[in-house]
Amino acid sequence: MLRFIARRLLQVIPVLFVIITATFFMVRFVPGGPFTAEKAVPPEILRNLEAHYGLDQPLWRQYLNYLGRVVRGDLGPSFKYSNRSVNEIIADKLPVSLELGATALAVALVLGLGLGVLAAVRRNRWPDYLASSVGMLGICVPTFVMGPLLVLFFAIRLGWLNASGWYTLPDRILPALTLGFVYAAYIMRLTRGGMLEVLNQDYIRTARAKGASEVRIVLRHALRGGLLPVVAFLGPGIAGILTGSFVIETIFQIPGLGREFVNSAFNRDYTLVLGTVILYAGLIIGLNLVVDVVQVWLNPKLKFE
């Protein structure tokens, strides 16, 4: 297993290299630049600005300079927030997204796994219908509807919480619920589907035939195989939830990283786009590695290849 992980970690370098290169050139070919503004900047001033950020050099040289800096762990200055570095922005905002994401993930896992298993075991009976309905609700009601609804009820109607912001501990409740609920719905559906698949497998029937208790069957045998799809989903899912959600962070005005992913692209903040992409890529690669390890663990027949 250690060899497997080591080999995978070695693959990270070329993968990151491709991602950085592709992103670097993609953002440069998008029309508009960091200094495109409502009012035209006189060309002489634009030249001053570009010279300041080294944008007047040939693209290949800028690219090499950037690579050189990234290798040293410096993601460069932000174009939009001109006295902050990308490292600093990420260091500021990632913890917020992690905190929100981890809480939401806890909600999602508890709710999603619990309801999913329940629905599969009590298939086509009322617990299944109830759990499935909750799951469908999370899928049918988009976050940009759910979030404001919760705010209108708990903050404005009842006056228990703030409407938006990230100032006090209770400010975390509504965003975590909203974000958690969506993921809970996905996890619930996938768990139910995966479990149903496994509960029909021959070895489960064998276990049943041998008189094993239902609880034991579910926990010991069925969950392992049944969780495979959930686990595959959770790799990118967790990366997404931990790096923050644009919609949730906008509705609740949370100073997390999620808004930066989208806004940096809108602002043509080249370095910030790259910085967030590198971070996200690292998480995706890391989590997909974890997923692959867990998949092997869930199914002892598999070996690390």
């Binding site: 469908m136 899928i139 988009p142 404001p148 698949e197 276990a207 992409v277 027949k301």
Partner: protein, 300 residues
């Protein structure tokens, strides 16, 4: 940590022998027995027909405005009310259905096809091929979507095909990872070993024996992809891809309605209900399909 007990029941004999036609006929038969699935299918059919033909029977067009009227709740003249420009919501909802059902189905089929084939090959072949294919998936996950969409538009112009490409390009990734995980597990099972020992070709093994056994998660994830795709369309139309005003889609109607939910609740309620109805129906139909196509259940 006990390993899962190995299947002790021998390989189901008919796996290779049974003629496919009867498999499909059986499945169709079982599907028709499932009342929820039939109801879901019927609702979808009715919705689809309404969206395609409904507008011809209504006296309003999706772009006809009545500025003096403005937003009004449902009435005899406008069954679902009007939006802030005084346009008939029913017509806009039906036209929007054409776009959303179209985009939802087409883009999902694109994502489904790419994801399933890609994931199945990676999972089945394994080794270096798998490693390369999955690293490509990692790369695709990480590329900035907003930038990708803008570039697509700038270099290839705006059209509906691009919309499918853009959506399909992001939505197949997780599908591929899920299918790969399933295939990797399934291919170690006895019946696949047996199929292989019978000298069946790889393609036949993948598509006839492995994928049918992975149908459950595939169908579930497909039913999860469709709503995601429909809502993603609203974001793309914000970027300038996708539907252009005054044309509407369910995604843009819901987004628009969500902003006015306190003032003009019907602008959110009706699109929301139709959207949910579609998703519930798809879900029931999906569950029914899964059961109907379940190779093992059929042997009961």
């Amino acid at each position: 940590m006990n390993p899962a007990p190995a299947p002790s029941v021998p390989l189901p004999a008919p796996v290779a022998a049974e003629p496919p036609s009867s498999l499909w006929r059986d499945a169709w038969h079982r599907l028709r027995q499932n009342r929820l699935a039939v109801a879901g299918g019927a609702v979808l059919a009715v919705l689809g027909l309404l969206c395609v033909f409904g507008p011809f029977f209504l006296s309003y067009s999706y772009q006809e405005q009545n500025l003096d009227l403005g937003a009004t709740p449902p009435s005899a003249a406008h069954w679902l009310g009007t939006d802030t420009l005084g346009r008939d919501l029913l017509v806009r909802l039906l036209y929007g259905g054409r776009i959303s059902l179209g985009v939802g189905l087409c883009a999902t089929i694109v994502a489904l096809t790419i994801g399933v084939v890609y994931g199945a090959i990676a999972g089945y072949v394994g080794g270096k091929t798998d490693a390369v294919m999955m690293r490509i998936v990692d790369i695709m996950y990480a590329l900035p979507f907003t930038i990708f969409v803008i570039l697509l538009m700038v270099f290839l112009g705006r059209n509906i095909v691009l919309l499918f490409v853009a959506i399909g390009a992001v939505e197949w990734l997780t599908m591929a990872r899920i299918v790969r995980g399933q295939i990797m597990t399934l291919k170690k099972m006895e019946f696949i070993e047996a199929a292989r020992s019978l000298g069946l070709g790889n393609r036949r093994i993948i598509f006839r024996h492995l994928l049918p056994n992975a149908l459950g998660p595939i169908i579930v994830y497909t039913t999860l992809t469709i709503p995601a795709v429909m809502l993603l369309e609203a974001f793309l139309s914000f970027l300038g891809l996708g539907v252009q005003p005054p044309m509407s889609s369910w995604g843009t109607l819901i987004k628009d309605g969500a902003e006015k939910m306190e003032e003009f609740p019907w602008l959110l309620q009706f699109p929301g209900v139709v959207f949910s109805l579609t998703l519930f129906s798809l879900n029931f139909l999906g569950d029914g399909l899964r059961d109907a196509l379940d190779v093992r259940a059929s042997k009961d």
